[in-house]
């Protein structure tokens, strides 16, 4: 690289960008995890609506997954970031606040990612539920378990096992989507790279560093998920 070496730019000493980049990486993981968990909750609700709901709830859930998988995620992030002020400002007025109110970037971003990934979560959970065999549920009912107990003891553990690979894919998607939150100004990896690129005039160096950070996070989480999958499918007979 130009006059500085890569190591000097990202050093941990004074003037180095190392600590800032690592803090930004932590922020990326935090916002992605929050979005993922929120998405899982939305997805559980969506899967329940699709499996057990009546015509109307099923229709709503179908509409939700179709729409959210058909429009760009960036639009959803804009909706939450800018749209929140349209909703919050009048509410703020009622309580005597003046000026514009909007969700902080972290919350708006995590909510947007959650709503988008919820559509994928819905399909993952629905598929996993389908793979729990009827017989196991019937056996649990025959033993006298209540519906809640069947759900907690039989359906959740068994379907999570099948859902794990799908959840891994959704997580990778969420991680990459979290880069879009940089448009709201939240200082995660990509935003921090933009700041560094602007002040050192070394855009390639900084965006390359950002790419490497994403690569490392996704590789480590991919490897962890693979281990988890091996662990939770110990009881399965492989044919």
């Amino acid at each position: 690289m130009n006059e500085f070496g890569l190591l000097t730019v990202f050093s941990f000493g004074p003037g180095g960008w190392g600590p800032a980049m690592f803090k930004a990486a932590a922020m990326t993981i935090a916002v992605a995890l929050t979005g993922f968990v929120f998405g899982a909750m939305v997805g559980a609700l969506g899967a329940w609506a699709k499996i057990a709901g009546g015509r109307i709830t099923r229709g709503i859930a179908d509409g939700y997954t179709t729409v959210l998988r058909g429009i760009p995620d960036l639009l959803v992030i804009y909706l939450f970031y800018f749209g929140s002020s349209a909703v919050l400002t009048p509410i703020g007025r009622m309580f005597g606040a003046t000026g514009f109110l909007s969700l902080p970037g972290f919350l708006a971003g995590a909510l947007a990612i959650g709503i988008v990934s919820g559509a994928y979560h819905t399909e993952v959970f629905r598929g996993a539920y389908r793979s729990v065999s009827r017989g196991e549920i019937e056996a649990a009912v025959a033993i006298g378990m209540s519906r809640a107990l069947v759900f907690r003891r039989i359906i959740v553990p068994l379907s999570l096992r099948f859902a794990l690979p799908g959840l891994g894919n959704v997580w990778q998607l969420v991680l990459k989507e979290s880069a879009l939150i940089s448009v709201t100004g939240l200082v995660e990896i990509l935003r921090q790279a933009q700041i560094g690129a602007g002040s050192t005039r070394q855009p390639f160096t900084f965006f390359l560093a950002a790419a490497i950070l994403y690569l490392v996070i996704s590789s480590v989480s991919g490897w962890t998920l693979q281990r988890a999958e091996q662990r939770f499918t110990r009881g399965l007979r492989r044919v």
Binding site: N2, T66, V67, G70, I71, P72, D73, L74, L75, V76, Y78, L79, Y81, F82, G83, S85, A86, Q172, L175, K176, E177, S178, A179, L180, S182, V183, L190, A193, Q194, A197, R201, Q202, P203, F204, T205, F207, L208, A210, A211, Y214, L215, S218, S219, G222
Partner: protein
């Protein structure tokens, strides 16, 4: 709902549709060729080639597209040699940077879809073609590729939809396609919800049409899976 505003929003956003389609179409078309090359390299059995293809796919699939766009649009300017080369007039344009980034990105995902298609061709078919005396190239052109395309088409349809969605990121590097116009309109009017509804509807319609086209293509390519037409005349009588 404020219908006059919705109509006005639609009129503001529609001029962005051609750019969205142009970005998606050019990157998908260019991407298919690169994807096919990558898939062939991966399956070639030549170690270094397979390895290059594997690393390419890994890198492009595990980093966000936005980072790739920034690396190409902002990053390449860091190198004076490149700024003074013949390539600079192309790399200076946000449009071409977006097309390059989208193409490189879709090629990584596409190559895995094509690889799945190529690997799904039954060995017996290839053996039969070899036994007929076809050359390796002939086998590829007449047997493997057509069968692989048929197999890979549904997966590739999804990738095309993802590409249409991905063109929205071009708005971040100043391109005024649908999302770019929507973001501009939101910042001018502060009416995010209405603008979102109209922009979302535009994308949904585009994707709906593309899904239908892919389905029609699939129907056309798989005559053997269609139910047979009802027999016109049923012969009566005993064995001849």
């Amino acid at each position: 709902m404020d219908f006059p505003f919705l109509c006005q929003t639609l009129l503001t956003l529609l001029p962005g549709v051609p750019l969205t389609l142009k970005l998606a179409l050019s990157s998908v078309v260019l991407g298919v060729f690169l994807a096919l090359l990558l898939a062939l390299a991966r399956l070639s059995g030549i170690r270094p080639l397979a390895w290059i293809s594997r690393v390419y796919v890994f890198v492009f699939r595990s980093t966000p597209l936005l980072v790739q766009i920034f690396l190409i649009y902002y990053g390449l300017g860091q190198f004076p040699a490149l700024r003074h080369s013949v390539l600079w007039p192309i790399l200076r344009e946000p449009y071409w940077c977006a097309v390059i980034a989208l193409t490189l990105n879709t090629a990584a995902y596409g190559s895995e879809i094509i690889r799945g298609g190529l690997q799904s061709v039954p060995a017996g078919q290839i053996e039969a073609a070899r036994a007929c005396g076809m050359s390796r190239f002939q086998v590829f052109r007449r047997i493997v590729l057509p069968l692989a395309i048929r197999q890979a088409l549904p997966g590739y349809g999804n990738e095309v939809i993802l590409m249409v969605k991905a063109t929205a990121l071009a708005s971040v590097i100043t391109l005024m396609e649908v999302t770019g116009l929507a973001a501009k309109l939101i910042s001018e009017t502060y009416r995010a919800i209405e603008v979102f509804i109209v922009a979302g509807a535009i994308y949904l319609i585009i994707n709906f049409v593309i899904t239908r086209i892919i389905q029609a293509l699939e129907h056309w390519l798989t005559p053997h899976l269609r139910s047979a037409p009802a027999p016109a005349v049923v012969e009566q009588g005993g064995p001849a």
